[in-house]
Amino acid sequence: MSSRERILGRVRRALADVPPGEDVPVERDYLREHGERTVEETVDLLAENLADYRAVVHRTDTGSLPGVVAELLSARGASTVLVPPGLDEGWLAAAEVTRVPDEAGSTPHELDQVDSVLTACAVAIAETGTIVLDGSPDQGRRRISLVPDHHICVVRVPDQVVASVPQALERLDPARPLTWISGPSATSDIELDRVEGVHGPRTLEVVLVR
């Protein structure tokens, strides 16, 4: 007998008391979002919660975005930036940095030499201060937003902003590789007290673009 059959057999015997055909109904009477907010207020909440977990939040409009991105890279002293293949080229129009394309062949060591990464996102969650990346062409492979120490993420507001976790899951495709990011990397492993900055990018800048 294979272990698969053995385990499934054990499970079935263990559940002998469960009436056949029984289902356990799940009441989803919890809230789809917490509190009532206008679209504007939801965006404000996103900014507030991102900042609360030490992401640096910037707000701008489409026209000024290239300038803001250029400024952030230059303030950081970045000379190289990782660029996902489908990123709007205009976002980097004003930046004087070397663009490093996101390629399958790059080794982690090579990525580690790059100063910054610029990505879009799939959705942002106001209540938790979370941005979610789904590997779309404007976000690139998961590792590019991980290895460089500086991540700039552009969120189109209000279109990409949802209020809550349930609303975010509705928008996401489970078949894609998903990375939920809430602030820069952090740990609570020393005396259960949170400190920011471990393996993931230690600086997360989120640009909310209208």
Partner: protein, 492 residues
């Protein structure tokens, strides 16, 4: 490594040592009290918390009560997405599968995401014996591994260590494992985190095999979810070419939508955050992004035995948040090591004796490692009635009875060492169902009260070693009542 629990003394003896260790007491008190207050605040932010908690409970019950169906569904969806599913009936089989998979890659080192399942099966030790080095990458796991220590908490395995001790371990040990700690390392948490970053970076960047557990597996989509903070999880899940995930069969949720409950309740319960810094979700493999090979090892190792117990099976709802540890007054004073298992605290006290059985001294003592205060149940985000299961397992210890071990029905004998207690309980029951006998006993106690010492010899010292006995009154209440009709006759 000394990371073994074999031959652990029973809980009371291990706890006695811990209670006397003032550094440990201080470390645990500080850490648990810090997180307690924060958790309460994070939970209070959601006014539908109780509804989320009940939904979480129902979703897990739905999974468990139809686990066969969801396991098969999960296998299909993972396979369809490019993953390979393996089934492991016990720890040995899981270790063997993982070791073979690693060997097939030709690699001799692996990076690991913090995983309770692989701790439970002692995977690192097994791999080491076969020449494969497993590097723990979670900060707390790293502290435990470098310190040749044992984990003492589900979320923060090094909770028993304070910053000064961590600094000393890093300074002393890092060089043995790879990049040494920076010169003049201080004990500020930020510097310690930086030291871990530098030490582990080279390991992440060259790793070809990653090993993880998972917080959730979605049956309908085949998606696995890892919830973490530091980014070490992302490193292990995305940089290597091969990813092996060892996951307990109870970690399934039926639907994608079900995640909306747990992604709200888990972070707030464990680290008291609205959301943890990083959550990774992957479904099989993705062309050109992340590992090319993905193996899922489904682990039983006592879970189906636990499932067979109608009262005890609720322990399998656990999502490993560790809120119950953080509020537990016994855990706070006894520390995690006293529980003799990778699962300490209240959840450990009901999980270990079910996964491993109650045959060993430590496992038979765990159901008693609680004052039944109920704080654990109150904070549990999937409403596991831990006190109920503790009492149920006490019954199994003292009365024996039917249980399932390794898939087979067995008849357990009452545990040794409870014979005197059993006799006393039986005698007490006899007296306490006979008011006349109770009264006789009370009168005897009252009449001889001047002879009663305030401290007791022998086994009575368990009480009177630290506490005085109350004096026995001149007459029991029932005599007063009979004499005075409740004072209605004006008598006092």
């Amino acid at each position: 490594m000394s990371g073994t629990f074999v031959g652990m003394p029973a809980f009371p003896a291990a706890a006695r040592e811990a209670v006397r260790d003032t550094t440990l007491r201080g470390n645990l008190r500080h850490a648990t009290h810090t997180i307690r207050a924060k958790r309460a605040r994070a939970v209070a932010e959601l006014d539908d918390w109780e509804r989320l908690r009940q939904a979480g409970k129902r979703i897990k019950d739905r999974t468990l009560r139809h686990l066969d169906r969801y396991l098969v569904q999960l296998e299909e969806s993972v396979t369809a997405a490019g993953g390979v599913v393996h089934w492991a009936a016990d720890a040995d089989e899981a270790n063997r599968i993982v070791a073979e998979l690693v060997k097939a890659t030709g690699e001799t080192e692996v990076v690991k995401v913090k995983s309770m399942a692989t701790q439970e099966i002692a995977l690192n030790e097994t791999l080491e014996a076969q020449g494969i080095h497993a590097y723990e990458t979670d900060l707390a796991e790293l502290i435990v591994q470098l310190g040749k220590d044992r984990p003492s908490h589900i979320l923060v395995p090094a909770i028993h260590r304070n910053r000064g001790e961590i600094r000393d371990i890093f300074t002393r040990e890092m060089g043995e494992w790879g990049r040494p700690a920076p010169e003049g390392l201080t004990d500020t948490p930020a510097d310690l985190a930086e030291a871990a970053r530098l030490h582990l970076r080279e390991k992440f960047l060259r790793a070809k095999v990653g090993i993880s557990g998972a917080n959730f597996m979605v049956a309908e989509t085949g998606t696995l979810v890892v919830v973490e903070s530091e980014g070490n999880g992302r490193m292990c899940l995305t940089l290597p070419e091969t990813l092996i995930s060892v996951v307990g069969i109870e970690k399934i949720v039926p639907t994608w939508q079900d995640l909306e409950v747990f992604l709200q309740t888990l972070p707030r319960s464990s680290t008291a955050e609205r959301m943890n810094p990083y959550t990774s979700m992957w479904t099989g493999t993705t062309d050109g992004d992340g590992p090319r090979n993905f193996h899922l090892v489904l682990l039983d190792n006592g879970r189906t035995d636990t499932l067979a117990d109608e009262v005890g099976r609720q322990a399998l709802r656990c999502i490993r948040c560790s809120a119950c540890l953080n509020v537990c007054p016994v855990y706070e004073r006894a520390g995690g090591h006293a529980y003799g298992s990778v699962y300490p605290g209240p959840i450990g006290a009901i999980l270990s004796p079910q996964l491993r059985g109650t045959a060993s001294e430590i496992d038979a003592s765990l159901p008693y490692a609680s004052s039944l205060c109920g704080a654990c149940y109150e904070v549990c985000p999937v409403a596991i009635d831990i006190p109920e299961v503790l009492v149920h397992l006490r019954e199994r210890v003292v009365e024996g009875g039917e249980a399932v071990r390794e898939g087979n029905k067995v008849r357990l004998r009452p545990a040794k060492g409870h014979a005197a207690e059993r006799a006393a309980m039986r005698a007490a029951r006899w007296a306490l169902t006979r008011p006349g006998a109770l009264r006789t006993g009370q009168r005897l106690a009252s009449r001889t009260r001047r002879l009663h010492p305030r401290t007791l010899p022998g086994p009575g010292r368990a009480w009177s070693g630290t506490r005085d006995l109350p004096p026995v009154p001149a007459e029991p209440f029932r005599d007063w009542w009979q004499r005075t009709r409740g004072g209605k006759d004006g008598a006092k």
